[in-house]
């Protein structure tokens, strides 16, 4: 079940391991949640954004679940950009309750935040029918994708509106703007982010604040073990193009050009056909995923 325990937010400044806040651990939650109990995951778009924004002279606040990884990335940034200030905040968005939010708010309150990149998110372990998801998975998809972005934006936007400058960047997915059978809840969660961004973009325009939503297809993260290809950019290549769109007035952005071509192709065939193609593809992956999961269960 969804853990009733308090959230986990820990703040420290690089170089001085100085935890201002430390709340309960999440081991219990993680151990009973197959969706979130993931092996150590390599960095992707979030880390690439951190380096890109650091190279453009912004100070960086890294937020993530694992303190050791945060420190490692912070060190890397410091090494490459010695003049850039880096701060890390440990936070598990799978349990971003009022206590965790209060801590986060406090940690961010004194900062002149110019750019917020809502990158955290989670998907299915593999495509499934919605009714096959466990309660933990259903909860996780909402917490990690919808609640994290909504609350973070609600926290940071007031300062931006007051200063009359700022940019919110929401990393969603092409699933947020296309029909995705067997990934329905993920698609819906990202669709929420897309509509959220569209409304906010118009609403905040008068205050010189932009809220955009990026909807990429596949990006070659180490996790995905994807080699870069014409249609699969590296996180760096993706972010190089994506970060150039920040601050402009398009609410929905397909940052990588080849992804835009794919999107155009998908949208130019009739929905009845494209829906069937995607459903067939995902059904195939689901079958193999189920087999793998079965084997893993037997192995244990």
């Amino acid at each position: 079940m969804w853990s009733p325990s308090y959230g986990n937010v820990q703040v420290s400044q690089l170089g001085s391991p100085n935890p201002l806040l430390k709340l309960s651990s999440l081991e219990t939650l993680l151990s009973c949640n197959p969706l979130l109990h993931s092996p150590s995951l390599p960095p992707g778009i979030g880390k690439a954004y951190a380096f890109n924004l650091a190279s453009r002279g912004l100070s960086i606040v890294l937020i993530s679940r694992t303190k050791s990884k945060l420190d490692a990335v912070a060190e890397e940034i410091k090494e490459k950009y010695p003049d850039v200030k880096v701060k890390v905040i440990q936070c598990d968005y799978s349990n971003f309750d009022d206590k965790a939010r209060a801590s986060m708010k406090k940690a961010l309150s004194s900062l002149d935040i110019g750019v917020l990149v809502n990158n955290v998110g989670v998907s299915y372990t593999f495509p499934k029918f919605f009714h096959e998801l466990t309660e933990d998975e259903v909860g996780g998809l909402m917490e990690m994708n919808v609640n994290s972005t909504t609350w973070m934006t609600h926290m940071v936007l007031p300062g931006m509106m007051e200063r009359k400058r700022g940019a919110v960047v929401n990393i969603a997915s092409a699933a947020g703007v296309n029909t995705m059978p067997l990934l329905a809840q993920y698609s819906a969660a990202k669709g929420y982010i897309a509509m959220f961004s569209r409304g906010l973009m118009v609403e905040c325009a008068t205050k010189n604040v932009t809220v955009q939503c990026q909807v990429p297809f596949y990006v070659a993260t180490k996790l995905a073990k994807l080699r870069k290809a014409l249609t699969v950019p590296t996180p760096d290549a993706f972010v190089r193009m994506a970060s150039k769109t920040i601050g402009y007035s398009d609410a929905i952005v397909q940052p990588f050009w080849m992804h835009a071509v794919i999107g155009l192709a998908i949208n130019s065939i009739p929905t009845v056909v494209s829906d069937k193609i995607v459903m067939g593809m995902h059904a195939g992956i689901r079958k193999r995923g189920m087999k793998k999961a079965e084997k893993a269960a037997k192995g244990e």
């Binding site: 979030g46 998110g121 400058r165 996790l223 601050g247």
Partner: protein
């Protein structure tokens, strides 16, 4: 009379010409706009937005099924290419 001659003689010809021109113009503008945005438009100076950038999920990659999806996608693509090549071979045989 050829099809083209029939068409040009039709009273609808001017209307179709206008419709075609407008469509073509709109598509061209769209294409140029996209090319500009993707390849020429400079990024903004984000330092003007403020001092700090906050990035969530900055170290833990998103857990995706992408690996399998992409493999499948590649294999689908591979299959299409293979079919095309086979077709070409068949055609060459003729």
């Amino acid at each position: 009379m050829s099809t083209l001659a029939t068409l040009t003689a039709s009273p609808l010809a001017p209307a179709l010409l206008i419709l075609g021109s407008v469509t073509l113009t709109l598509l061209t503008v769209q294409l140029l706009d996209s090319l500009y945005k993707y390849f020429l438009r400079p990024g903004k100076n984000l330092r003007k937005c403020g001092e700090w950038a906050v990035i969530t999920g900055a170290t833990d990659g998103e857990r995706l099924h992408v690996e399998e999806l992409a493999r499948q996608e590649r294999s689908v693509f591979g299959r299409i290419v293979k079919l095309l090549l086979e077709d070409i071979q068949v055609l060459q045989g003729i």
